[in-house]
Symmetry: C2
Subunit: 411 residues, 2 copies
Amino acid sequence: MPGPLSQLRRGHEELVLGLLRRHGPLSRGELGKHCGLSRTTLYDILAELVASGAVVAATQQEAPRGRGRPAETLTLNPDAGQAIGIDFARRAVHVAAVNVAHEVVGSASEPHPAGLPWEERVELAARLVRGLTGAHGGGALRLGALSAIGVGVVGPVGGPGDDPKGHDRLAGLLRERFGVPVLADNNTRLAALAESIWGAATGVEDVLYLRLSHGVGGGLVVGGALHRGAYGLSGEFGHITVDPAGARCDCGGSGCLETVASIRAVLDAYRAAGGRAEDVPELVKAVREGDAVALGLLREVGSRIGAVLAALCNAIGPSVIVVGGELAETGVALLEPIEESLGAQIMPVTRNRVSLRRATLGEAAGALGAIALVLHESPLLSRYPADGDEGERRPAAPDRAEEPMNPARRP
Amino acid sequence: MPGPLSQLRRGHEELVLGLLRRHGPLSRGELGKHCGLSRTTLYDILAELVASGAVVAATQQEAPRGRGRPAETLTLNPDAGQAIGIDFARRAVHVAAVNVAHEVVGSASEPHPAGLPWEERVELAARLVRGLTGAHGGGALRLGALSAIGVGVVGPVGGPGDDPKGHDRLAGLLRERFGVPVLADNNTRLAALAESIWGAATGVEDVLYLRLSHGVGGGLVVGGALHRGAYGLSGEFGHITVDPAGARCDCGGSGCLETVASIRAVLDAYRAAGGRAEDVPELVKAVREGDAVALGLLREVGSRIGAVLAALCNAIGPSVIVVGGELAETGVALLEPIEESLGAQIMPVTRNRVSLRRATLGEAAGALGAIALVLHESPLLSRYPADGDEGERRPAAPDRAEEPMNPARRP
């Protein structure tokens, strides 16, 4: 856990980057005036940011200051790729990248057979990243300033059910390949974070994301941050019991939501009721054609889902629920019964406070969420001493030692 | 919402108070060396803290610095009452106070008839607070440094269902009486926060608190902070549907947990099954005497509660569940079936990660939580300009203008 002081340092770094983002190029003196940090602290942080390539120095020609040489200004490096996100899904690799201004500068995907070894998946990811960075095209992203790679993986990370050996191996391969720290989390949880930043719930602070796919899972964004829970397992909406006497679930429980609302569960129930569909696109086709069996089934499944969401809304109070995953492609046939049962069981006083939306980021969500993970939990921090409040400080640049930090205080 | 800069300032203030708490008395130069803030920022913050009485100046006699007059040191004021908490429950007022070291220095309670007007309840609270501060006894607390009053009230605050007129009136009466800002929240939610700081879950970052009383409610502590939800209504565990065909609930829904697990619901069901109890103490007596009807009923109720808690654990992932309220006094007769049904429906992989505990703070929990509210969300902040990064700064103390903040940089 980072202590309060390293959190403070991260806050300082974000403050400096934020000032450059809002104001454009600034001199060190101007930065000092705006940020309220001591020159020692500010110069430490600027030295790190320049060394990492996130910030570049440029001489301000347009506005000479009247006396002596013009002040050197600092600016964000627009070509610096600050973070890459890679989603290692079951049967595909997705990558995306942002620059230091936190703009998404590219994304790419490629499917692969299930069970591909980590080495080959990392090779594939590296190739997709090279494609983004222009080695194989006209891309403009440079990786010299890369601060970290965010990674989404299937299954739990850092808690019970985690595969620490596999994940360590993956992180090792990525570090070897890219030479930077690697941060990982569950890709469904990361998709929740991405939808709250770039997707269906952009800018919303409290989001519940439900993913209806081969598994049923999700994630919570609480006060703008990804919620993990005490032991790294949260957002396991698919394993909430909806029928204690129901079917056995892969998790070891019985009658979990996943046993009625996963792709397989829905397709099995559809076929058992006489429908014909081998996959979700065929089910979507049946729904569009008004197939009564499909519509009735989705009504039933949606009603179960809505009841679970109502309970969670009463407990957690999100303002937006985002529904993603392949089954969401059945559209209103599923979303309408979800909304009805949600409305029937949520506390009446909050009924109009929650809106239900379909996810918008599609298959890139996990990779984008992995980038958000890096931006929220930057390992730049680890370059500072662990508990630096009593530690050694680098001296300030000698040629500026007499300049007060706050120009307003000049006589 | 406070912006990142006011959050930063609050961080600075907490940093300075934390350094004084850990190191004892420090000179301004030593504080500057430890905290890494500019002298302007540090002196601003120290001026506020001294003005508020939280910090006092004292000349350090023991260790003269070798040349000139001894440096003035600053220290926490142990007699400064930093915060008072008042819980306006339905039929009682509870008060508690802490000093600037965040130690609880006293608490008091007094029952009153239901429906007592706000004026009289505030009078009662003021009398209880005077008792704590020594005007009517030997207490040591001085209120000169009081920074705020935290208040717990029944029902929602700041969202749908809130009573803004009543709450504004209460806040006005308290401000008039004590002359400081007032922060309010729902008292059940505040009890959750208090249990995570001073009670059954001390130091636990992710806590689910369930209160089984005349109503059924609770609160979530997420990452050490009180969780409110997007529209101020969260922790409404009592209004999660456990039986869509069940009894009508006061909230307008049907079959809510509250319709089976509130004091009235349990006593009604007990009497309907032939038991005799007018109140919870009589029910507790029956349980202790091994009354089979009471035990069977609590088993059923506990099983319902455990199922709800299991769903919430899968979604949220707390490490401790605290059960409070009068019905928790039935002890293992209720807690055991809760634990069993929780264990049966929680994801097997997390079954041993969650512990179930009885609340320990009793009736003082709400008032203590109101103090925690003040400590977490100090209105000291509001004394700074709202978006101060571009604002005017007070000049540093003139007699120290040439002293560098970081003594290590002296020639």
